[in-house]
């Protein structure tokens, strides 16, 4: 397929997909927590835009609601909450020294190729836009995991987790024209609860081991004591 032959909606969705992928990469290479959270919010905004676009072009009003929910949850509420916690715990000046930043980034690029490679058989049975959207969302999921592996701050882990959810959400919007409303509400509620729970956990971890560096949690290992 050639992109020139697609309609404008497809082109826009594909460009959005590329941008969502790009934000994932930006998060991967980010050492500062506040900027990480900002990029996460940006990703949420892109998702909102995609959903609105889908709602408009598919003429399905219920997608406006999920767009609204994304906007409120992922662009405003969760970033605000994470930001507040980071500032409260006085971590916004820390810069995490990322080891092998370039290697991780190149690994990310490899993951992107890999997700295309894995999903390539699907393209034979469905539209091309499906492949691309799915591949980008799969790579967002994988990159989110890579983010969790490569960063040590627990806050970064939460952002990684949320971006995994973003990837799934993107796939759902683009590939299946939106999930049933009930499922979407449920997922949104889950995310909300998860975010709140994480917030509570942060404080507990912080008070018990005096840091949010997950590598320090090795101390909880029984063998060491």
């Amino acid at each position: 397929m050639n992109i020139e032959q697609q309609d404008f909606y497809t082109q826009a969705i594909l460009s959005m997909a590329a941008l969502v992928g790009l934000t994932s990469f930006l998060m991967l290479g980010q050492g500062r927590l506040l900027r990480l959270i900002f990029v996460f919010a940006l990703q949420g905004l892109l998702l909102t835009l995609t959903t609105t676009l889908a709602a408009y072009s598919l003429n399905s009003p219920h997608l406006y609601i999920s767009a609204m929910m994304t906007l409120i949850l992922k662009v405003i509420f969760i970033p605000w909450m994470l930001r507040r916690q980071v500032v409260l715990m006085n971590m916004h000046r820390d810069v995490e020294a990322l080891k092998n930043n370039t290697a991780v980034m190149l690994g990310g690029a490899g993951l992107m190729v890999f997700s295309y490679y894995v999903l390539h058989p699907i393209v034979q049975t469905s539209s091309a836009i499906m492949l691309n959207a799915l591949a980008v969302s799969l790579s967002v999921v994988l990159l989110g995991m890579l983010l969790m592996i490569s960063h040590r701050q627990a806050v970064a882990h939460v952002v990684g987790f949320m971006s995994i959810e973003n990837g799934l959400f993107f796939a759902a919007i683009v590939a299946t024209k939106g999930m049933p409303m009930v499922v979407e509400l449920g997922v949104a509620f889950d995310v909300l609860v998860a975010a709140v729970l994480f917030g509570i956990f942060f404080f507990h971890i912080r008070t018990s081991i005096d840091s949010l560096d997950v590598d320090r949690m090795n101390r909880l290992h029984e063998v060491d004591q």
């Binding site: 190729v113 295309y116 490679y117 390539h120």
Partner: protein, 760 residues
């Protein structure tokens, strides 16, 4: 009908003027489509003529080989002045000639004249090789012959086709340059310590070996020639054997050359077991399964790759090249590596008829690693010749990369793109031979004048050695692939090949090839940085040692002439690349059966490998543009006579005063950012010792800085192999009890087993 038209007409004119008009008439009519029937005489005449051409071209090639042998033999006469004198007494020569000969044979002149004679004969061999190469490239056909040497039932088969012809051209140009350069360079060697006879003999044998490899048409002859080349070059590497490090390097070289040769023999063996006979014709007919073909390919890659020096089997290269005399390093790096490339091309594209894309991927990946690794290692070398040797690894990597692309396109059914890739690879091989020869010979001049190869000991030579510095600059610009020079054209072709990836279907290839193109871009940029360092540290700035302060331009005209020749060719083929591309089209036609589209050759001004719509480059227009822009600004800005002259003033030293050479950036300082960015590529051992003094020991009185950069290959690959072999040897050693009766027992048991095997 594929008639070699130009040659035919020319030949007809030459031999039978009366008939020629008639034939030309016939030819014209044929061209216009009036009369397609040829008189019978035409075919007879043509076959006769072709036979004559065959003889001529082959005689040129043989003469080249014989001349190189002769130059080797002539070198042996260096200590035989009296017997030569006695011999020449008997030969009747005219009066004037006799005087001149007598003058040559005096005690003081004889060694010099003989050395010159040796190099003249060697140069003749190079010239003949160039002529033979051009002749065969023009005739567009392959010439075969048999020589009754060797075993009686196993004559040596000879085949001289376009591919061999092209490599003949490469060898020839390099040998001509070296033989112009040689007499001045070898003068510095003392006869007692470094006998010229050895150097001359093995140089001749080495060149002959390389030429014979290119001529060989059966596996047996090929291996003999290959071994001649390897062993002769071993003696050349070991030439300055008083230094233990040199002996070690030479032994390493011999060891790896022989392991490589074994791999090649095994590769031929795999092919031969599916064919009847050892001739290449028989091997081409061999019907191999994919598995066996892949095994043969891997063996050939190992063997030829070891000679060509791809990472990680390149370790002999940076050891052996610096210790050989400079003109020999030039031959080894510029030409011998190309002979290995020739072997690989012959084996993969010619003998193994259907290539697989997986092999292309292997070549592509290995080439990419070699290119990047080579240039990164080169960057860290303080020794100029070592640096150049590593840069050869880089260039060979680029050649392998493009060959891999050609193979991938070939296997996917795009022979035209495969031809483009092959063309880029061969063109780069040609270019590399030119500029690497130039740089090695330039390094030889530097060693000759400064008695050191350490870049950190040089500096400021551009004022003391203006000609050498200018020629070296051209070499540096070519190897950094700057536009207007030949290195750029082949790199441009390589990028054009990689950019055709759109035609492929395979997802892995589609994503792999752009990545390797990116790596190629990085390699080119790093090479430019590396050679800015080389030129800047050697020729620019202030002199860093007494030797370089006192250095003078080399007074031997020949040495400079060789550099001028090579630099001129670098520039010439940068401006007129179409000449080489036209020749290479013939090679591609013979090897792949496909040429580039006609657009390429429509005009000598334009280089448009795929089509003029897709990409074009016209070096001559660029040159004209640069000249106009340069001349105009130069004229315009210097029009005012008041400000035309420049005022010289002291360099800005921040007001401290006393700017000296030690304050300049050094070699390791220049590469420090790279060392930090690509830290994991090397094994870096960096130590800073400070001597403290004064109250509380707080003031630094002196600082010592030590930096050692090592290759990863030794601890990762070679030491484990060495350990493994040692322990295996220890195991085997157990059966050596020292008792003679036990040994007799071994023989007895072996005999029994053999008898049993025979009876099966």
């Amino acid at each position: 009908m594929p008639i070699p038209t130009t040659i035919w007409l020319h030949g007809a004119n030459e031999h039978e003027p009366a008939k020629s008009i008639y034939f030309r008439d016939q030819f014209v009519r044929q061209c216009h489509g009036w009369d397609w029937r040829m008189p019978v005489e035409f075919y007879e005449y043509r076959s006769q003529f072709l036979q004559r051409v065959t003889m001529m071209v082959l005689i040129l090639a043989y003469a080249a080989v014989l001349c190189s042998f002769a130059s080797g033999m002539l070198a042996l006469l260096i200590n035989q002045r009296t017997s030569v004198h006695a011999l020449l007494e008997r030969v009747p020569i005219q009066r004037g000639g006799r005087d001149w000969l007598d003058d040559c044979l005096t005690e003081s002149r004889y060694p010099l004249r003989l050395k010159q004679a040796v190099f003249i004969v060697l140069g003749l061999s190079g010239l003949l090789a160039v002529l033979a190469g051009i002749a065969v490239l023009n005739s567009q056909s392959a010439f075969t012959d048999q020589i009754g040497l060797g075993l009686p039932w196993l004559p040596w088969h000879v085949r001289f086709d376009s591919l061999s012809g092209f490599f003949f051209l490469i060898v020839g140009i390099a040998v001509v340059a070296v033989s112009i350069y040689g007499p001045g360079y070898v003068e510095a060697y003392q006869e007692e310590k470094h006998p010229f006879a050895v150097l001359g003999l093995f140089t001749g044998l080495f060149v002959a070996g390389m030429l014979l490899v290119l001529l060989a048409d059966d596996a047996f002859f090929f291996m003999i020639a290959w071994e001649l080349m390897s062993v002769a070059s071993y003696f050349l590497v070991a030439f300055q054997h008083e230094n233990p490090a040199n002996r070690r390097a030479a032994f390493l070289y011999l060891l790896m050359a022989e392991v490589g040769a074994l791999a090649i023999i095994l590769g031929f063996g795999v092919l031969a077991s599916f064919a009847d006979g050892l001739t290449f014709d028989a091997l081409r007919q061999a019907n191999l399964s994919t598995t066996w073909a892949s095994i043969a390919f891997v063996l050939a890659l190992l063997g030829f790759g070891m000679k060509a020096g791809i990472v990680p089997i390149h370790v002999w290269l940076p050891e052996a090249h610096p210790v050989a005399p400079s003109h020999i390093s030039a031959l080894m790096s510029g030409v011998m590596l190309k002979v290995a490339v020739y072997g690989l091309i012959r084996f993969c594209f010619d003998l193994l008829t259907d290539v697989h894309w997986q092999w292309g991927v292997v070549l592509l990946v290995l080439g990419t690693i070699s290119a990047l690794g080579g240039i990164l290692y080169a960057m860290m070398q303080p020794n100029l010749k070592r640096l150049l040797a590593y840069s050869s690894v880089e260039n060979i990597g680029i050649i392998f990369m493009v060959l891999g692309l050609a193979m991938i396109f070939m296997a996917n059914g795009f022979p035209q793109l495969a031809a483009l890739g092959l063309l880029a690879a061969l063109f780069h091989a040609f270019n590399h031979a030119l500029f690497k020869n130039l740089l090695f010979l330039g390094a030889g001049i530097l060693q000759h004048q400064i008695h050191s190869l350490d870049i950190d000991c040089m500096g400021g030579l551009i004022k003391r050695m203006p000609q050498t510095s200018f020629l070296f600059l051209i070499g540096c610009m070519s190897i950094s692939s700057l536009p207007l020079f030949n290195g750029f054209v082949s790199e441009w072709l390589a990028f054009q090949t990689a950019l055709q990836v759109d035609v492929l279907d395979n997802g892995v290839l589609r994503s792999l090839i752009p990545v390797s193109a990116a790596a190629l871009a990085l390699t080119a940029a790093l090479a430019a940085a590396c050679f800015v360092k080389v030129f800047g540290m050697i020729f620019l700035g202030l002199p860093r040692s007494r030797h370089s302060e006192k250095a003078q331009e080399v007074d031997d005209k020949g040495m400079l002439l060789a550099l001028k020749l090579l630099a001129g060719l670098c520039f010439f083929f940068g401006i007129f690349p179409t000449l080489i591309i036209a020749a290479l089209n013939n090679v591609a036609k013979q090897l792949i059966g496909q040429t580039l589209p006609n657009d390429t050759l429509q005009s000598w001004m334009w280089l448009a490998p795929v089509s003029a719509q897709k990409a074009s480059y016209s070096p001559i227009l660029v040159l004209v543009g640069v000249l106009i822009a340069c001349a105009f600004t130069f004229w315009y800005l210097r029009r005012n006579p008041d400000t035309k002259t420049m005022r010289r003033a002291a360099t800005w030293d921040c007001g401290f005063g006393g700017l000296n050479a030690r304050m300049q950036y050094s070699c390791s300082a220049f590469t420090m950012p790279f060392r930090r960015i690509f830290a994991k590529v090397w094994l870096i051992d960096e130590q800073i010792d400070k001597d403290m003094q004064g109250a509380l020991d707080m003031d630094v009185s002196s600082i010592r800085y030590r930096l050692q950069v090592e290759d990863h290959c030794w601890p990762r690959l070679y030491q484990p192999i060495a350990h493994g072999i040692n322990s295996a040897a220890r195991l085997v050693g157990r059966i050596q009890t020292g008792n003679i009766r036990v040994y007799l027992g071994y023989s007895f048991v072996t005999l029994i087993i053999m008898l049993w095997v025979v009876s099966l």
